[in-house]
Every structure is written in structure tokens, then in C-alpha cells.
Symmetry: C2
Subunit: 363 residues, 2 copies
DNA sequence: TTGAAAGCGCTACCAT
DNA sequence: ATGGTAGCGCTTTCAA
């Protein structure tokens, strides 16, 4: 019988994590004392604290975060809702987020919305059940789901919109002004001598709409006529970008420059142009957006608008932590990172362009 | 005074999530009854269950997962340790993982090791404190840290190694046989008529070592001499791949074919070859590994060995769930996904190659 | 400086 | 079919 018990205890010791109770028992102090010592509270004698710390180290003690969460209402988990991690832009943001959050003791749970507002909502609900301390959202919604955001406000769950703002929602946001992206890209094509500039537009989200708006604005400013025919929908992937470009090339006259919603779309467009036997950038100049990590090694090295993806993640994480730590809810902050033109071969018709990378240098 | 209390209650209702206690109070039943009803236990009358369910829906009740975790010792969180999510291969795996786990109610916490075994260890410890149910590890260790894996075994935390096996560790694993990748790639280059085949090898990890071994084996089988000069270290990124290729091109004679550790390395190598004024594949044929999503739109569409990244993630997730649900610890399982040759322009010298994609078709 | 008691929200066990 | 009690491992409050 005693044998059995000792076996059980042994098994127990082997299987279960050591808890404060173990340390307390070993040291003949109370659990409270252990708790305080471990958290460096000052109403513990130096001697006791050291004994606790030593024993904790010996037993390789790690706090049970579920228990801590329950007791403190603070989980040190933040949720990050992305459309799809296979879109490199979001993977890059996610890296920036983790970089900043991990050292602070946070864990990041990534949830995929698959570009579906309904799934997004469910995933957010699921995250809330997890008692997350805050939320980062790259939303798939074209306009904010009132219920959802109401409930976030009500529960005082801090959240930051990332990359994709939501029209009419006064909230914390980190991203790049999409209109600026559209302007910078289109302006560049004009400067390179393009006269029939097409746009492969993205999804019906603020990002797509903003870039389109910037594109139209620049055309107008240059007295170039806007033609709806020159704007086609390319969604956000290389395949759809490829199809969209094929359509554009059927036009008469075909465009001599095209601004693509993002780099993936542009990658597909490049292929379509080459397959049609046209030259890039001489016949058609191409520019994308995002400057994802592989954009310089594409079929033709791609000009693009850099969006500082990793930085977006870092800034969003920093802001979220500020919100979480704030005693009183601060006014919503909008952090806009300036878009930056990156000129590569796909659009470089004239030399001496200031932002151009010298030929032959592989970055 | 009564006013104050009502305010407080109101505030409470607004701020705090509804708990089982609220439902129980409203319905004049016990918390236990609510708990059972919500979990569909059968010792609850149909009528009561319905009342509970209805009220729960009205109050938009969501269980507190931290409390549930504490009570059941089951967190429905799994950890996924990756070197870097910016490596598309891991982002793709991660997608496969989430796809399978989200519908089962799991959350996935992604932790970055940054290719540093020490950080990896710390991150795993941190995850264990989180009471994760299981662990997926794409390890940065060249050999298993005894302490770490001992402690995983001791605590009975199920884990699955992903992509990167660990030598001498008999554990669950999902990946592609690296030697097979090396063989398939090298064999293909031989078949395309390459006679001086170089290898830009990866990090000193099982993946790098296995691919190298496969490469050497094929050379031997074809009676081609192995020369250490033709094997250079390219780590795992496009930049290092670029530098490595430049070194190879300085050799006399330079290689006429090169098998690169992965697609990113190959992307850099492609650039180096073109910058040197050589033609691909005529002067130098190139093949990578992974078949990441952008490999077909690279500088030259890249031949590669497909590793079914998303599938790896799915299989790993499925296996992990099986381990978590198992009553008794099953024998370690090794799931090997067959590598698949994907021929594209970067290596297609001869036509009629069976695996070749017809010219002009953009996939 | 220390610790007893209560509680976080849930589940398991065992009566009734 | 229902529920009281006792935890899960931690923190908070307050008394000693």
C-alpha cells in the first residue's frame, strides 16, 4: 500500500508541473509568500525571497499561465486575424508583431479569416473566449460589422486595425495611406512616359478603393482621360492578376503601363505580358505594391511601392501594448507609414531616376 | 446607495463577460446544471437544457477558456515553433496547420526561433507554461537538446517534428525525405545533360545534410566525380544564395548545373548567373527545393522539388491531434511525403520531359 | 514580514 | 435529473 502511494507520488512528480504549492511545502512557507517572492513584491524578506527563488530554479518552476489568467484577467495573449498567411505581406507583418510582443511575454495567436467576413467574425469571437488582452485585425470586411465592433468596445478589448482601415469606424489603425500608394505608383508611370495607364484593382476593400482613388487622381491631374475599360479586377493573387492582364492586352490600344493592386497580382501580370510577346518595360511598364521579399527576383524585377510591412507589424504591436497598458482609454490613433517608391526593371524606362537602383546591383 | 449599486451592476453587465453563474441565477438552477447542459451531457432534462441554451444565446455566452483550461488541464492551444515565418515554406505549412486545427477548436500560437537553438528552447519553455496541448516544431537544432526533449517526454506533452527531423531522436515526424529531394533534383540535372553539377548547400541541419547526401549519391551512381569545390554554403536566403553562386562561377570550369538548397537560395543564384551574362538553362541549369508559391514567377521560372508544404502542415496537425487524443502513448510515427519534381524553364534543356509543364501555360 | 481566506470560472465526483 | 462540494493554480485583500 505504501508502495503504491510512493509510486503514485513518484508518477505525480514526474508528470505534473511543479506548482507554487510544491515550493511552499518544501520551504515551510505559505503559497502566498511564494507568490509574492516570485513576483518580486517588496513585502518579503530578502532571505525568504532568495530561498524561494533558489528552490524554484531547482524545481524548474514555471507559472501556470491559465491560472494566472484566471486570477488576473490578463492572458498575455493577443490575437492577430489575417486573411491568409500565405500572402507574404501578412507573414511579414506577423513577423514584426511577434518581434515586439515576444520579449514582453506575450503569445500571438494567428487566426485566418480566408478573406471571409463571416469567418473573421467567428474567429474573433473565439479569440475573445480565450480572454485575449488585445486584437490585431487585418479585416476582410468592406464595412465594419456593427455588432462585432460594438461588442469589442463594450468589453473594452483593445484592438488595432492593421493595413486595412474600416470606413466609418473611428479606431486605432496602422497602415499606409492607400491613396498615396496609388498616387506614387501612377505618378511614376506617368513620369516614365506611359500614356495609357491601366489599373488592375484589388478587392472591394478600403485598400483596393484607396489605391484606385489615387490612380484616378493622378490621371486627372495630368489631364489624362480615365477610362473604365482600363480598370479591371484582379483580386489579389498572381493567377487572377494574370487573367486580368490578358484582358487588358486585348484592348485597342492596349495599355503601355499598368499599376497592379499588389506584387502578387503584378507577378501574374508580368507573365501575361511576356507570354503575349511584349517587352517590359518598353511596351508595358509594370508596378506593384507591397515590396514583398521576393519582388526583386521576379520574372522581371518588379517596381513597387514599399509598405514597410515588418514595420507595420512592429508599430501595430507597440500601439496595442500601449492601449492594453493604458489606465483610461486614449483617443484612437492612426499611424500612417509613408509609402516609398522602389524602382526596378519592370518600369525603368528612363535612366537617372532618383530612386532607381543602379543596374547590376542585386539587393 | 441603491442607485450606486445599480450603476455598478449595470457597469458590470456592460464590462464583464457573462458567465455560467449569470445563466444559473436567471434560470434558478445550479451552475453545475448549466455546465452540463452546455456540454450536452445526457443527465439533463431536455427542457432544462433548452432553457439553458436559449438563455446562453440571449446573453451571448462564451465559455472562459482560461477557466476551462485550469479545470480540465486541456487548453486547446497548440504551439508551433518556426525559424521564421518570412520563409514562405513555413508560412505555407502554418496555413495547413491552422486549416486542420481551427475547426477542432484549437488555437495555434506561433513562436519564432530565428534559427537560434537557444531561443527555440526558451520559446518552448514559454509555451509549456501556457499549458499547450501539443507542440509542432520545425527545429533549429542540429542535434536534439537532451534536457528539452527529456522534459517534453516527462511531462507527456505530445510533439511532432515538422520538416526538420532530429538525428538520434525517435519521435513523431512529418516531412519529406531530404535525401530523396537531393536525389530527384540531381538526377534531373544529370538527365538534362549537366556534367558539372554544383550544390549550394543549406545550413548544418538534417535538411541540409540530407539533400547533400542525396546529391552525392547520384553523382556517384553516375560515375561523376564529387568535388568539394562544387559544394558551397548558401545558408537559406536569396542573398546568401546569390553570393554562393558568384563563388561557383569563379571556378574553372564553372558548373553547368546547380542544385540549390531551397527556392530562395535558387532565386539568388538565378540573379548571379544572369548578372554574369550566362544563359539559364543553357549555360547553367538551376533547380531549387520547396516549390514555394512564387517559384513559378521568378526571374526565370524555377524548376524545383515540391514538398507539399500545406500538406505537411495538415498531416502534422492531424498526427498531433491523434497523439493528444490517444489514451496511451502510441509508437512514434514518421510520415514521409514523397518529393515531386517540378520542371520549369530554369532547367528544361530537353523537351519532352514527362514532368514538364507545356510551354506557355502559366500555372 | 507573513499568511488565512476568498475568489477567478469552470469541471469532476458523488450524493440526493 | 439535479446540485453541493471540492478542486484546478494563481492573486488579492486584509488581518496578524
Amino acid at each position: 500500500m505504501i508502495y503504491c502511494i510512493s509510486i503514485l507520488l513518484e508518477e505525480d512528480r514526474m508528470t505534473k508541473r511543479t506548482s507554487m504549492k510544491d515550493i511552499a511545502r518544501d520551504l515551510n512557507v505559505s503559497i502566498v509568500t511564494v507568490s509574492k517572492a516570485l513576483r518580486n513584491q517588496k513585502d518579503i524578506s530578502q532571505a525568504t525571497r532568495q530561498r524561494v527563488l533558489d528552490r524554484a530554479a531547482e524545481l524548474n518552476y514555471m507559472p501556470n499561465l491559465a491560472a494566472q489568467t484566471l486570477a488576473t484577467q490578463r492572458s498575455y495573449i493577443i490575437g492577430f486575424v489575417v486573411p491568409d498567411l500565405m500572402i507574404s505581406f501578412f507573414a511579414e507583418i506577423s513577423k514584426g508583431v511577434s518581434e515586439r510582443l515576444a520579449p514582453l511575454g506575450y503569445h500571438v495567436v494567428i487566426a485566418h479569416s480566408q478573406e471571409d467576413p463571416e469567418i473573421e467574425k467567428q474567429e474573433i469571437e473565439r479569440l475573445l473566449a480565450r480572454q485575449i488582452d488585445g486584437l490585431l485585425i487585418a479585416s476582410a470586411q468592406s464595412r465594419p460589422d456593427a455588432d462585432l465592433f460594438q461588442s469589442l468596445e463594450t468589453r473594452h478589448v483593445p484592438y488595432v486595425l492593421v493595413d486595412r482601415a474600416l470606413p466609418g469606424l473611428r479606431s486605432n489603425y496602422v497602415g499606409v495611406k492607400d491613396e498615396g500608394i496609388g498616387e506614387l505608383a501612377t505618378e511614376h508611370l506617368v513620369e516614365q512616359g506611359c500614356r495609357r495607364i491601366a489599373h488592375i484593382r484589388g478587392p472591394a476593400l478600403p485598400t483596393g478603393a484607396g489605391r484606385l482613388k489615387g490612380y484616378r487622381g493622378v490621371l486627372r491631374r495630368h489631364g489624362m482621360e480615365f477610362s473604365a475599360k482600363y480598370v479591371v479586377n484582379g483580386q489579389s493573387g498572381k493567377h487572377t492578376g494574370n487573367l486580368a492582364m490578358r484582358e487588358l492586352l486585348k484592348l485597342d490600344p492596349p495599355p503601355d503601363g499598368v499599376f497592379c493592386y499588389n506584387d502578387a497580382v503584378a507577378a501574374g501580370a508580368l507573365m501575361a505580358i511576356l507570354e503575349a510577346g511584349l517587352r517590359i518595360p518598353d511596351d508595358v511598364a509594370v508596378i506593384g505594391a507591397a515590396n514583398v521579399h521576393y519582388s526583386d527576383v521576379l520574372r522581371v524585377p518588379l517596381s513597387t511601392i514599399d509598405q514597410s510591412s515588418v514595420l507595420i507589424g512592429q508599430k501595430a504591436a507597440d500601439l496595442l501594448v500601449r492601449l492594453i497598458d493604458a489606465k483610461t482609454e486614449p483617443a484612437p490613433e492612426r499611424i500612417l507609414i509613408p509609402p516609398r517608391l522602389v524602382v526596378r526593371e519592370s518600369s525603368r524606362r528612363k535612366f537617372g531616376v532618383s530612386q532607381g537602383v543602379p543596374v547590376g546591383v542585386f539587393v
